[in-house]
Symmetry: C2
């Protein structure tokens, strides 16, 4: 018999159906057994009369169903008198898998233990909702891009030379030579610009051999990347990104807003555009004046400074997002374009969401001579960059783009503490399992 999703049962009152699901509560009340089963679409109550003619056939098998086991039930959908509820009176009960009891984690188990048993911890409705939100969020991003003619790329994760600085790099043996895992699709999405692909996007894994254990770092994460040809400045990228994120937040609110309110107690706020912007130099001044938070000369913004900026802009504009622009060249990658009249300042930005950096972006330097000079200034050895430089030898549109951290957005959106909570299977310096 074909399975009926549990949320469709109301359409089958009086009929015989087949349902399947995970066993939740299994209660024994007098001559009745009540079993809650959930198939991801909803929860159904099974009511079995142990003394009933058919009910006695199933009493033992229902009793044996531990929490988390899966079961296939055929039975009649029955509407309860004077109640909006329905229950299923079984005519067949088949355990399809057996869960060891007790389950290895409880709701209050440590995050580490929950990650050890991710196959159980993800059953928590809040955790399940996180990945439904992620699905909607990503699909909304892609809808936005596809509608605007962006081309999807899958850049290689195996590289013959390091993609960026060479720090925090995973290295492997590749048929007798060395290969490296990509730390970002940066060089390849720029190649796509030289290749005339116009505007491109990629959502895929990147790898950082970062030994730190903070709540916002991992050794493998999902990077959301886009790159656009024919931009005038980083402002074109920022305008695209704010429209992109606004669309995605709107879709999340539309599809999951109610459930997020119920399970997380959070009202999703769809941002308005434009997001506020502040230049790096002005941000430094503001932090000192408003918050007595002094960034030492020659230092980059620190996480506390970023949180203060959020406080300021939330108070003054109501916004959770703020672009910090025009970073000094010394804090940025060699390929960020610089202002012609201010060669120490880049046409770049970070996007902060609730005080956390979620994006780094810039217009890129597409002129080979300038690019090579900027790499040399940073003290980078030119050898490993030859393949990258080659991309710019045969014409390349002015272009810019950004990379967005998916888990950081989800974490902040749901007011969670740790990227591990919004990662399907977290990878850190001492976690490769399960």
């Amino acid at each position: 018999m074909k399975r009926t999703p549990i949320n469709d049962l109301f359409q089958h009152v009086g009929q015989t159906v087949c349902i399947e699901g995970f066993v939740g509560a299994n209660r024994n009340l007098g001559r009745m057994q009540f079993l809650a089963i959930n198939d991801g679409t909803g929860t159904a109550q099974i009511a079995n009369d142990k003394k009933g003619e058919t009910g006695q056939l199933f009493a033992e098998s229902i009793k044996a169903l531990t929490k988390g086991s899966t079961v296939r039930i055929e039975g009649t959908v029955t509407k309860l008198e004077k109640s909006p509820f329905i229950e299923v009176i079984p005519s067949s009960v088949t355990a399809t898998s057996h869960a060891e009891a007790p389950l290895p984690i409880q709701a209050d188990s440590s995050l580490d233990l929950q990650m050890d048993h991710r196959h159980v911890s993800l059953r928590d409705p809040k955790n399940h909702l996180i990945f439904c939100i992620q699905t909607t969020f990503e699909h909304a991003l892609r809808e936005f891009w596809v509608k605007r003619g962006f081309v999807e790329i899958h850049s290689p994760k195996l590289m013959g030379t390091p993609s960026e600085s060479g720090a925090e790099l995973f290295e492997l043996d590749y048929f007798g030579r060395k290969a490296y895992l990509a730390q970002s699709p940066q060089f390849y999405k720029q190649m796509a610009m030289a290749a005339g692909m116009g505007s491109v996007f990629e959502i895929g894994p990147v790898f950082r051999a970062n030994p730190s254990f903070t709540s916002r770092h991992d050794t493998e994460f999902t990077s959301v990347d886009m790159e656009m040809s024919w931009v005038n400045s980083h402002e074109d990228v920022m305008a695209m990104e704010e429209a992109l994120l606004t669309h995605a937040f709107k879709q999340v609110k539309k599809k999951h807003g109610k459930e997020i309110q119920e399970l997380f107690g959070i009202n999703i706020k769809v941002p308005s555009t434009p997001f506020p912007r502040i230049a790096f130099a002005d941000a430094i001044q503001l932090l000192e004046k408003q918050f007595n938070h002094k960034i030492p000369a020659g230092s980059d913004l620190d996480p506390q400074g970023e949180r203060y900026l959020h406080d300021h802009f939330r108070k003054t504009t109501g916004h959770d997002f703020v672009f910090v622009t025009d970073y000094p060249a010394k804090f940025r990658a060699f390929y960020h374009m610089r202002y012609p009249d201010r060669p120490d300042t880049t046409k770049s930005f970070d996007l902060l969401y609730r005080g956390l950096e979620i994006t780094t972006g810039a217009q890129r330097e597409h002129r080979l001579d300038v690019l090579a000079q900027q790499a040399a200034e940073k003290g980078l050895s030119q050898g490993p960059l030859q393949h990258y430089f080659n991309f710019f030898r045969h014409g390349c549109p002015p272009h810019g783009g950004c990379g967005i951290g998916l888990t950081r957005i989800l974490m902040k959106m749901l007011d969670l503490e740790n990227v591990r909570q919004v990662t399907f299977l977290y990878r850190g310096p001492n976690r490769l399992e399960p």
Copy 2:
């Protein structure tokens, strides 16, 4: 001035616009210079009168524009008399990047040389179209899944233990221990089933340290994966896959059919469902009877046999797709479920498209005791499988799924010879660059 996409120029006749693009043909005819520039949306002709009042200002800079350089032009959109065409009379010409001449590859350069200079070879309109098709194809897949409540996952590519047999595995140093690159998301998408995620999908990279140089293998490729809870058999997966692919082919035909016809001379055929099916044992018989092609007892289908099957089903049913089902257990992974009454036969399938295997799928064995026994029978050491086995200790829905090779589909759809032609940046045993 804001850039106008070239395909919008017809709406701006008589107006001054700014356009940008790659330089194509650059011709000098008497007192006129004609420049073709392409921005990805279309090609515009720039006409400059070298003796004209303003035209003489640009004569030198237009002359210097090599093929492949990029240029920014402001000018007036002018309709040609007695012609449907328009041209742009420049009022400003700025080279934005310079291409070395000659370009390093020509249309007839070897595939290897084209891959060396992928940033140029991808400019070929056929190559560009391939990645537009890929974008549409993937977006259609995701639309299909999202509409049906599938959840998107990003499974880790770094693993503490091998995901499958241990053969063809890339290994790396991970903070003093060994890690492996995922050969498929298999174990993790099954974990998602135990975790109650229902049905899931993932499109992402997988890695195979395969030393072979065939036209259909690479060391890194994009795998399209789905996995479904509460299936009755592999037939549920096959029914979902044929509907999925049919939807994606339909979208490709709708959006690119005309251009594919023009550039590749191919009429995209949207398949009808159901696809034909044949059991492995019947396929062996058919090959011997119809094609005198004998598969030795105890051997799997070979590529020639698969091509013959295509010939047969194309002739008899008009179909380019055929499911081969019920493979002997010895040719399949230990986690494929077997028929209760035929323990040497799996509830599995391959999908052949034009004679090439593009999918392997199955109902999975979700009962831990049976699963462990099947692994032992295959001689697999149980140690590395403990984390995997753990997924099945606390209940797991009956489930099944499949993995689909994206590049193989694109290659066959466009009647191309080699997966390298449909890969953004191919990786093989001796290619890690660019």
